[in-house]
C-alpha cells in the first residue's frame, strides 16, 4: 500500500463549511460593524449615482446631523417614535410572532389619541395622559385579533397583520378625508391639537417624547431581562417545544407579549401625532413599520441596543429629509438604505454561524 498523502495535487485543496457553536462577542461585533460599513458604502455609492456630490454626503450625514445642536435635537425628536416601534418589534419577535402590523397599530394608536382630543374627553389637565392611555389601548386591541387567530387557528400572522394594516390605513383615510377633516382648510388632516394636548418640551427643546421613550425602553428591558416573563420568553423564543414541555404557559406568554408590542406601536402613533405633527395626518406612519422591524433585527431583539439603533435610524431619517429638500432624492432612499443594511447584516450572520476551512488534501 502506498502513501497517498505524498501524491497530493495542488488542486485537491478544497474548502468546507462548518457550523460554529460560539464566537466571541467582540468578533461578532467586528463582523457586524464591517457589514454595516459595507452597507453604508453601497448606499453612499447609490446616492452618488443619484446625483449627490460625494463631498456633500459626508457633510450632510455626519457633520450637519451630529455636530449641529439644531439637527441633534431633530434627531432626538425623531428617535422617540422609532424607539417605540423598535421595542415593539423586539418583544413581538421574541415571542416568535412576525408582527408586521406595527403601522396598523400605530394608526390605531393615533386615532385613539385624536378621538380623545376631538371629543374633548376629560379635563385639560388629564387630557394628555388620557390620550396616551387611549393610544395604548387602541394599539393593543388592533394586535389582539392576529395573535388570537395565530394561537387558536394557526393563521399566518404575517398575512393577517399586513391585511389589518391596509384595513387600518383605509379607515384612517376615511376619517381624515371625511368626518374628522379640519373644517378650516382642505387638507387631509384632523384639526390641530390644543396646546395642552401636545407633548411639551422638558428643557431646551428636548421633547418629553424622548424622555418617555427612554423610560419605556427601561421598562421593556425589565420585562425581558429581569422578570419571570422574560425567562419564559427566552424559552418560547429559542425552543417553543421545550417551553411547553417544561411548563411555560406558552400561549399566555405569546398573547401578553404581542399585546405589549401592539401597545408600544400605539404609543409610537401617539408620540408622532402629539409630539411631531400635532394632529392626525393621512401619512404620518409611512416608513415606521419597516423601521421597527429593521431596528429589532439589527438590535437582535435587545431593548437597549434597539434604543441605540433607533437613534441611528433617526439620523438617517433626518438626513433623508434634507436630501429630499436639497437634492430631490425621494424618501424611498431611506427605506432602500435600511433594506441594504438589513441584507448586509443578515448576510454577516453567515460568517458568525459558519467557519470556512480549507481541507488539507481532500480525498485524493
Amino acid at each position: 500500500m502506498f502513501d497517498a498523502t505524498n501524491f497530493q495535487p495542488l488542486l485537491a485543496r478544497r474548502y468546507t463549511l462548518e457550523v460554529r457553536q460560539q464566537m466571541a462577542w467582540y468578533w461578532q461585533a467586528l463582523v457586524i460593524a464591517l457589514a454595516l460599513l459595507v452597507g453604508l458604502l453601497i448606499s453612499a455609492a447609490i446616492l452618488v449615482v443619484a446625483g449627490v456630490p460625494a463631498g456633500e454626503l459626508l457633510n450632510e450625514f455626519v457633520i450637519l446631523t451630529l455636530f449641529d445642536a439644531q439637527s441633534l435635537r431633530a434627531v432626538l425628536f425623531q428617535a422617540a417614535p422609532l424607539i417605540m416601534v423598535g421595542l415593539a418589534g423586539c418583544v413581538a419577535f421574541r415571542a416568535r410572532f412576525w408582527n408586521l402590523g406595527l403601522e396598523g397599530q400605530m394608526i390605531w394608536g393615533a386615532i385613539g389619541a385624536t378621538a380623545i382630543s376631538l371629543f374633548e374627553i376629560g379635563p385639560p389637565s388629564m387630557r394628555l395622559p388620557l390620550m396616551l392611555l387611549s393610544a395604548v389601548v387602541c394599539g393593543l386591541i388592533w394586535a389582539l385579533a392576529p395573535v388570537l387567530l395565530k394561537l387558536h387557528l394557526k393563521v399566518n400572522e404575517i398575512i393577517s397583520t399586513l391585511m389589518l394594516n391596509y384595513i387600518a390605513l383605509n379607515f384612517l383615510l376615511h376619517l381624515v378625508y371625511g368626518d374628522w377633516k379640519d373644517p378650516r382648510d382642505n387638507f387631509p388632516y384632523s384639526p390641530q391639537y390644543r396646546v395642552f394636548e401636545r407633548l411639551p418640551d422638558v428643557f431646551d427643546g428636548l421633547s418629553l417624547a424622548i424622555v418617555l421613550a427612554t423610560l419605556v425602553a427601561f421598562l421593556v428591558l425589565w420585562f425581558t431581562n429581569v422578570s419571570r416573563a422574560g425567562l419564559y420568553l427566552r424559552f418560547v423564543d429559542n425552543s417553543p417545544g421545550v417551553a411547553r414541555a417544561v411548563g411555560v404557559p406558552v400561549n399566555r406568554v405569546i398573547l401578553g407579549t404581542v399585546l405589549l408590542s401592539g401597545a408600544l406601536a400605539g404609543l409610537a402613533g401617539f408620540m408622532i401625532t402629539a409630539g411631531q405633527e400635532g394632529r392626525l395626518t393621512h401619512s404620518f406612519y409611512v416608513g415606521y413599520g419597516f423601521s421597527g422591524i429593521l431596528i429589532a433585527f439589527l438590535a437582535r431583539n435587545q431593548p437597549i441596543a434597539a434604543t441605540v439603533v433607533a437613534l441611528l435610524v433617526a439620523t438617517l431619517f433626518v438626513a433623508g429629509r434634507s436630501l429630499q429638500v436639497f437634492y430631490q432624492i425621494p424618501f424611498s432612499m431611506v427605506q432602500l438604505i435600511q433594506a441594504i443594511l438589513v441584507i448586509c447584516v443578515a448576510s454577516s450572520e453567515f460568517f458568525i454561524r459558519h467557519r470556512i476551512r480549507r481541507i488539507q488534501g481532500g480525498q485524493s
Binding site: V19, G241, A245, V246, G247, Q363
Partner: protein, 506 residues
C-alpha cells in the same frame, strides 16, 4: 469468492466544529462478503460510511475502489462508482410513489416520455424485487408503506442505480426480528451469490455473529480491529466495542413495592388518522420500576408524551392516586407533587439548547416562587441552586453556568435534566429511553439515579426500546405492541419469552 478489495478507506479523518468524529480510520471490504462495521452510538460508523457514499468530504485520507484511487465530489459520483447507501433515516420522498422515488435517482437519456420511463422503471422494480425474493407495488405511495417495505424501496433504489457496493446503516434497528432476519438473508445472498460487497453498519452483536463474514470494530472515531466474527466470542467483541468500561450489572435489586401510585386505563389516541394507542392499561406502584419494552414505534413515544403532559390527543384516564387525572394538573402542581419527566429527546422536550444551563435549571422551581415573584427573578439564588445541583449530579463540562446547554455532551445534558427533575424528592418518575446516545459510564450513572429514586419510594415508569436496559432496571416488565400492553412479566423474567412477545403479537 474472488475476495479482491471492493472498497478501501485509508486513514480518514473528519471533524465537526472541533469535535473529531473520525481520526485516521481505515476500512477495507472485499467483493462477495458481508462486512459488518460494529461500534457504539457515536463511534463514527455513520460518518465513515457517509464519506464512502460521498456525502461528507474527508479532511485527510484516501478512498480506493477496486484498488483505484478515487475522489468523490458528491453522492452522484459515489453512485457512478457503484456505491449505494441505505441510510438509517430513509431518504425517500414521502408523497411520491415507489417508481417515482426510484426514477429520481436514475440517469437514462433514452428518448422516452415521462410516462414510458415510469412504466419502464416499474418493470425493473418488479424484476429486481423478484430476484431478491420479495414483491412490491411500484405505484404505491411511499408514505403508505410499512417501515420494512420502505427499506426495501431504498435497497431497490440503490441497486437499480447500479450499486455493487451496498452500505446499510443500522438496517435492523427499526425492524422486528422476523423482518430483520429476512432482510439480512436477502443481502447475504446478494453478496454471496452475486458477488457484491455488502457493508452492514450496526451495533447489534447478534447480526454480526450470524450474518457477517468479516467485522471491523470502531471506537471513538478509530477503527480498532478487523477480524472474522467466527474467530472470536461475543464477549470479546463486546470488549472491543466498549473498551475497558465496566459492563452493566444484570438484575436490579428487588424490594417490596408499595401501594398503587398511577393507574392508566384504556388510554387511546383520539386522532382518527393515527390511532397509535389502542387501550393502554397499567398500574404503577410506589417503590418499583415498571419497564415497558417493545419494538420502537408501537406507541411508546405517544404514551410517554401523554404521561409527561405534552399535547397528545388521548382519551381514557391517567389517574394519579389521590390527585385526579394527570392531564388536569398544571405544570406547577405537577412539580409540587414531585412528578419528574425525562423525555427521550432531550433537546426537543427538556432542554432549550441555546439557553444557559442556569436558565434551563431554573424551570424546575420557577412555578413555586422560590426564584422570586412574577415580576422579579432572583438570579443569585438560581445560580446557587444550579451550581449545587451541577456538582451533586456530577454534570461535567460546565465551564460557566451561563454557557449554552447545547455545549454539554449527551450524557451531561441528561444529567442536567435529571438534576432539575430530581431537585425535589421525586414521587413519580416517567422516563423514556434515558440512555439513548449515552456512553456506558453515563448510562450507569443515570441507571443508578433511577434505582435510588425507586429505593427512596418513588414510582418509576421506564419506557425503553432497549431491552437490555429494561432487563437491567425493571422490577416488572410490560411488553408494548400495536398500542397496547400485551403481556406482563415479573423479574426474574425470561428474556427469550419477552423477545417473543415483542415480535409475535400483531
Amino acid at each position: 469468492m474472488s475476495n479482491k478489495n471492493a472498497i478501501q478507506l485509508d486513514a480518514v479523518s473528519k471533524s465537526f466544529d472541533g469535535f473529531k468524529a473520525l481520526s485516521e480510520a481505515s476500512f477495507t471490504a472485499r467483493w462477495g462478503e458481508v462486512h459488518a462495521l460494529l461500534g457504539e452510538n457515536g463511534a463514527g460508523k455513520s460518518s465513515l460510511m457517509n464519506i464512502a457514499a460521498g456525502l461528507y468530504a474527508p479532511e485527510t485520507g484516501s478512498l480506493f475502489i477496486d484498488d483505484n484511487l478515487v475522489r468523490l465530489k458528491g453522492p452522484l459520483d459515489a453512485s457512478t462508482q457503484g456505491i449505494g447507501m441505505v441510510h438509517q433515516h430513509f431518504k425517500l420522498v414521502k408523497p411520491f410513489s415507489v417508481a417515482e422515488n426510484i426514477l429520481l435517482g436514475l440517469r437514462n437519456d433514452q428518448a422516452l416520455s415521462f410516462r414510458q420511463r415510469l412504466q419502464q422503471t416499474a418493470e425493473e422494480i418488479k424484476t429486481t424485487a423478484a430476484r431478491l425474493g420479495f414483491t412490491i407495488d411500484p405505484f404505491a405511495r411511499v408514505d403508505q408503506l410499512s417501515v420494512a417495505e420502505q427499506q426495501r424501496v431504498e435497497i431497490l433504489k440503490v441497486l437499480l442505480a447500479g450499486a455493487r457496493i451496498l452500505i446499510l446503516d443500522e438496517p435492523t434497528a427499526v425492524l422486528t426480528d422476523a423482518e430483520a432476519e429476512n432482510l439480512l438473508t436477502t443481502v447475504q445472498n446478494f453478496a454471496h451469490q452475486e458477488g457484491a460487497a455488502v457493508i452492514l453498519v450496526t451495533h447489534k452483536m447478534n447480526d454480526v455473529m450470524r450474518y457477517a463474514d468479516e467485522v471491523t470494530v470502531m471506537r471513538t472515531g478509530r477503527t480498532v480491529a478487523s477480524l472474522k466474527p467466527q474467530s472470536v466470542t461475543v464477549g470479546e467483541l463486546v470488549k472491543l466495542t466498549v473498551g475497558d468500561a465496566p459492563t452493566p450489572p444484570q438484575v436490579p435489586a428487588s424490594r417490596a413495592a408499595g401501594e398503587v401510585k398511577l393507574e392508566v386505563s384504556e388510554l387511546c389516541s383520539t386522532n382518527p388518522n393515527a390511532p397509535i394507542l389502542r387501550g393502554v392499561n397499567l398500574s404503577l406502584h410506589a417503590g418499583e420500576i415498571y419497564g415497558i419494552a417493545g419494538v420502537g414505534g408501537n406507541g411508546q413515544s405517544e404514551l410517554a408524551g401523554a404521561l409527561m403532559g405534552l399535547p397528545e390527543p388521548v382519551s381514557g384516564s391517567m389517574q394519579l392516586v389521590g390527585e385526579g387525572d394527570l392531564r388536569d394538573l398544571s405544570a406547577s402542581r405537577r412539580r409540587e407533587l414531585g412528578i419528574a419527566c425525562i423525555p427521550a429527546d432531550r433537546y426537543s422536550a427538556a432542554l432549550a439548547a441555546p439557553l444557559s444551563i442556569s436558565d434551563n435549571f431554573a424551570m424546575g422551581e420557577i412555578h413555586s416562587g422560590r426564584y422570586g415573584p412574577f415580576w422579579f427573578l432572583r438570579r443569585r439564588r438560581i445560580e446557587a441552586d444550579t451550581a449545587a445541583a451541577v456538582s451533586e449530579f456530577d454534570v461535567q463540562g460546565v465551564r460557566s453556568l451561563q454557557q449554552k446547554a447545547a455545549l454539554l455532551s449527551g450524557g451531561n445534558a441528561q444529567k442536567l435534566v435529571i438534576a432539575r427533575e430530581f431537585s425535589r424528592q421525586p414521587q413519580l418518575v416517567i422516563v423514556h429511553s434515558p440512555s439513548r446516545g449515552l456512553d456506558v459510564r453515563a448510562t450507569l450513572a443515570v441507571h443508578q439515579r433511577l434505582r435510588s429514586a425507586r429505593d427512596a419510594g418513588a414510582a418509576v415508569l421506564l419506557i425503553s426500546e432497549d431491552l437490555d436496559e429494561v432487563m437491567a432496571l425493571a422490577d416488572r416488565i410490560g411488553v408494548m405492541s400495536a398500542g397496547r400492553i400485551i403481556g406482563e412479566f415479573a423479574q426474574p423474567a425470561d428474556r427469550q419469552a419477552i423477545g417473543q412477545a415483542m415480535v409475535n403479537h400483531v
